[in-house]
């Protein structure tokens, strides 16, 4: 798919022939050894003249080979097990450390892979000799554990990196504490990687001879040691072909098992009980929201810094119970950080955040009783639709019947009854969005946070979902804080809109207030299109440039800005008998459906004018000379902070 389009088919065919030839050579040893192990002959003739099982029989009959094989199996299994039990948690921990610390720990953990086996063998030989542990099975198991732990850690780390960090947050927001999140979300998702790591560890340990030679002493002869002696000292012997064939088979089985398991993993049919945790007891927030209502939220002078940069810069904001408030702002304005502070995923540096008058600063995210819908949805890929929605109830230890009842109700509410046993990957974007919504409200939190939940959907679906979200909000009555950078979305959904810019709250108000009375030039320019005039006011006149002076509706002084919305400008054909505020020339006309958008050059700048498509002004063409006129009261005056 990727580079294919670039390559001529013939060249890629050449590459394929080359690659498969080389891969065949790579597998040649196996291809030779396996037939030879079934040879009836003692001589190495290929292909064999006759076949038999005599070398395998001999292998089993001779106790030295059998014991060696059993010992090796034991050592490899134990080493793989211990390495997985130690290495997987360590890899999870590593991913949570601050980057610089993680870096130094990584170097320690990766080291056994880089240090030559012989050096590690000699070092461990001296160490175990000093401890008088040479020659015990455990000394070899422990040495192999150190050796193979990097395999487990690398495999697990690679999987961790590919996981959406929002998954853990989603578990917390659903009410799962740190350990429960590990057990129910992180570990199940890592299980295939852990199995793969363990398999690699097993295969590597099963084949390791250098360290075994030093540590095991004369009594503990592992299979690789026996082989090594056979090859290096005893010369060629057909029994070895049988042994190595068995090793190849073990490697093959291991690889295929890991392959098969990782693929089947996400296909499990539903049915394992919503389990564990009746310990927590009845948690908060299990009453219908209609009875509880939404909660009031208050930010008091909240500051959050990342290094020198203040992502949230002294924000104060009150959200009324049951209100639908949209936080609108360009990307990087701090709106998502504000949500994350409220949800508890990051701590604020100063100020207070109150829910129902209670400071929730010290409350862990899973005890905040706040539902969160993430931008990436963060649906658990190892659970089906039903169990994703059931998750918050199940971690709160609700009785099975109650969970079933409420999940059914919720799936009905978001119209996904028919999809309850589907895997997450089998859903469309809109369906995933509805699952995420259902999961966030199934435990009836009094506050619901939504972080650009519709950003990934196409326009029509987005409009449908907006109606759906509105409907759910009316039915359930939670307080909703909704983050978006889409103005249309904000207009369609909100009771009030809060506009953020570079970490600061610019203005909070109803959509109409924001549009008609923007508090500053940023809000005026960001919320809806406008023509902004900045200059020095002297009396009832605003001087913007040598060519441009505007009449003002009132007497002002000093540096101010005036906003004039495109639809409040009248356009007239230039005519000596008429007078307007400004004269100009049409530069561009674009049809936008219900309105025409005209760009007019006047007094050394350009102005945007919109007119209904049906109005006479819509007939102007580029190059036409026009007069612009407006009612003086249409000018909205602001302090100019710039």
């Amino acid at each position: 798919m990727t580079a294919l389009t670039l390559e001529s088919p013939t060249r890629l065919r050449g590459l394929k022939v080359y690659s498969w030839t080389l891969l065949t050579i790579m597998l040649l040893p196996a291809a030779i050894l396996i037939p030879l192990s079934f040879s009836a002959d003692a001589a190495f003739v290929f292909p064999p003249r006759a076949y038999s099982l005599r070398w395998y029989e001999r292998l089993w009959d001779q106790s030295r080979w059998r014991d060696a094989a059993l010992l090796s199996l034991q050592v490899a299994a134990l080493a793989a097990l211990v390495a997985t039990l130690l290495g997987s948690p360590a890899a999870i921990g590593l991913a949570r450390l601050p980057p610089r610390l993680a870096r130094s720990f990584r170097q320690v953990f990766i080291a056994p892979l880089i240090v030559p086996l012989m050096v590690l063998g000699v070092a461990l030989y001296f160490q175990f000799a000093a401890l008088r542990l040479l020659g015990s099975v455990w000394s070899l198991v422990l040495a192999h554990t150190v050796l193979v732990m990097p395999f487990v850690m690398i495999t697990v780390s690679a999987r961790l990196v590919s996981l959406d960090p929002a998954l853990e947050r989603a578990a917390h927001a659903s009410g799962a504490g740190p350990w429960k999140t590990l057990a129910r979300v992180v570990l199940p998702l890592l299980a295939p990687a852990m199995a793969a790591g363990a398999a690699f560890a097993f295969i590597f340990s099963f084949d390791e001879v250098v360290i075994a030679q030093f540590l095991a002493g004369p009594r503990l002869e592992t299979l690789p040691r026996r082989l090594w002696e056979g090859i290096a000292i005893g010369g060629l012997e057909n029994t070895i072909t049988a042994v190595t064939s068995l090793q190849i088979a073990i490697a093959l089985i291991g690889i295929l098992m890991v392959e098969g398991w990782t693929r089947r993993r996400w296909n499990q049919p539903a049915g394992f009980a919503a389990d564990v945790s009746t310990r927590l007891g009845p948690s908060l927030g299990l009453l219908p929201a209609a009875e509880r209502g939404g909660a009031a939220i208050e930010f008091e002078a909240v500051i959050k810094r990342f290094g020198d940069h203040a992502a949230v810069d002294c924000v104060s904001l009150r959200v009324e119970p049951g209100e639908f408030l949209t936080v609108l702002g360009p990307s990087g304005s701090g709106k998502t950080t504000l949500l994350m502070l409220l949800a508890g995923f990051t701590g604020h540096d100063s100020g207070r955040i109150l829910v129902e008058g209670r400071d929730i600063g010290p409350v862990a995210p899973h005890r905040r009783d706040i539902g969160v819908v993430f931008q990436s949805y963060a649906l658990f890929p190892h659970l089906d639709v039903r169990r994703n929605v059931a998750f918050p109830l199940s971690v709160r230890g609700l009785p099975r019947a109650e969970i079933d009842r409420r999940v059914d109700e919720m799936l009905h509410l978001v119209r996904l009854e028919a999809f309850s046993t589907r895997r997450i990957t089998q859903l469309s974007g809109g369906q995933q969005q509805r699952v995420a919504l259902a999961r966030a409200i199934v435990f009836r939190p009094r506050v619901l946070l939504m972080d650009e939940p519709l950003a990934a959907l196409d326009r029509n679906l987005r409009l449908d979902m907006q109606i759906e979200i509105k409907r759910l909000h009316r039915a359930l009555g939670q307080t909703v804080i909704y983050v978006t950078h889409d103005q249309e979305e904000a207009l369609n959904l909100s009771d009030r809109i809060a506009i953020m810019h570079s970490g600061q709250m610019q203005q909070v108000g109803s959509p109409k207030e924001l549009y008609l009375k923007p508090a500053n030039t940023f809000v005026a320019g960001f919320f809806g299109a406008t023509n902004l005039f900045r200059g020095i006011a002297a009396g009832a006149c605003l001087v913007c440039s040598p060519e441009l002076a505007l009449r003002l509706p009132e007497v002002r002084h000093g540096r101010i800005a005036a906003s004039l919305r495109p639809e409040s400008i009248e356009l007239l054909a230039a005519d000596a008998s008429r007078r307007g505020e400004l004269a100009g020339t049409v530069v561009e006309v674009t049809f936008q459906g219900s309105v025409m958008r005209l760009l007019v050059a006047a007094a050394g700048r350009s102005l945007v004018v919109t007119k209904p498509s049906t109005s006479p002004a819509a007939a102007f063409r580029p190059g036409d000379a026009v007069l612009l006129d407006w009612d003086l009261s249409a000018l909205h005056l602001m302090e100019d902070e710039a």
Binding site: M1, F46, A90, V161, V210, P224, I231, G254, I255
Partner: protein, 287 residues
């Protein structure tokens, strides 16, 4: 439970992280860092206080030759693996679906086949009356059997065979991460296919090339089994010298000093890599 719940959230998180990491760190400390420290101490241990005499002994020409050969062997093997492996990695990065899956299975199988088994198989294949000589003679291409094993040629074959999959597997993720739009953009801007490869694709794959080469080089530096068996005494590496010093000469301080030198060479290679690319890449990059 009550006590735990009273802890602040960041404190809880920190405790969880510490609990997860402590056992593994303890094992690493006791069974890796401590033995390495002991090795270092032993290498400077003299009859009367610390000494560098064991290191001085390594300055003898014979060790210089052995070290030189070990480095040369590792370098040549690395280059061969890179040249042979890059096209396979390229193909793997460019294909999807079942063709890719089968290639990956073949590669993984080659990666995890027992090293001893493979070394043994190469003897059977390459020896005087082995399979390859047999085939060549039967086809009438050669009259006398060729000396293919128990010399350096055999060692190169065996080592490249073992290390090639490591190279390919390290290369693939970097090549896959190259945005296919970039070579296309180069073509649309007038670069021919070879020029696009040389000036766009190859430079973009440099981190993967470095990662694979470093991995293969450090592994080749410490190789023991393959040169010991397939070299027939004509390809003595430093690892073989160390084994000899421990098991036959029973000169532990000298063996420690030699080990430290080999270790230093590996670490030096790796820190060069760390400077150029960053060791974090081995862990699948950072979040």
């Amino acid at each position: 439970m009550r006590l735990w719940a009273r802890l602040a959230w960041p404190r809880q998180q920190m405790l969880v992280t510490a609990t997860l990491m402590t056992p593994a760190l303890l094992v690493m400390l006791l069974l890796f860092l401590l033995p390495m420290g002991r090795l270092l101490l032993l290498s400077i241990q003299g009859e009367s206080g610390p000494t560098l005499a064991h290191y001085a002994e390594l300055l003898r020409p014979v060790y210089g030759r052995l070290l030189g050969f070990t480095f040369q062997l590792a370098l040549v093997v690395t280059l061969l693996c890179l040249l042979l492996g890059y096209p396979i990695a390229y193909l793997l990065a460019a294909t999807t679906g079942s063709a890719r899956r089968w290639m990956m299975v073949a590669l993984l199988l080659a990666l995890w086949l027992s090293i001893l088994a493979r070394t043994y198989a190469w003897i059977i294949l390459l020896q005087r009356n082995g399979v390859i000589n047999g085939l060549l003679q039967a086809a009438g291409i050669i009259g006398q059997p060729l000396e293919l094993v128990y010399n350096r040629f055999g060692v190169y074959v065996g080592m490249v065979h073992i290390l090639l999959p490591f190279m390919v597997i390290t290369l693939v993720p970097t090549l896959r991460a190259i945005d296919p739009a970039l070579p296309r953009a180069a073509r649309s801007l007038g670069a021919s296919a070879p020029v696009t490869f040389l000036r766009v694709y190859l430079p973009l794959s440099a981190p993967g090339v470095l990662a694979g080469s470093t991995l293969v080089f450090t592994m080749a530096l410490g190789f023991f089994v393959t040169p010991a068996v397939l070299g027939g005494g004509h390809a003595t590496t430093i690892a073989m010298v160390i084994q000899d010093q421990v098991q036959n000469l029973i000169d532990f301080p000298l063996a420690s000093a030699t080990s430290i030198v080999l270790l230093a060479a590996s670490i030096a290679t790796l820190s060069v890599y760390d400077r150029l690319v960053g060791i974090d890449r081995i862990f699948g990059g950072t979040r």
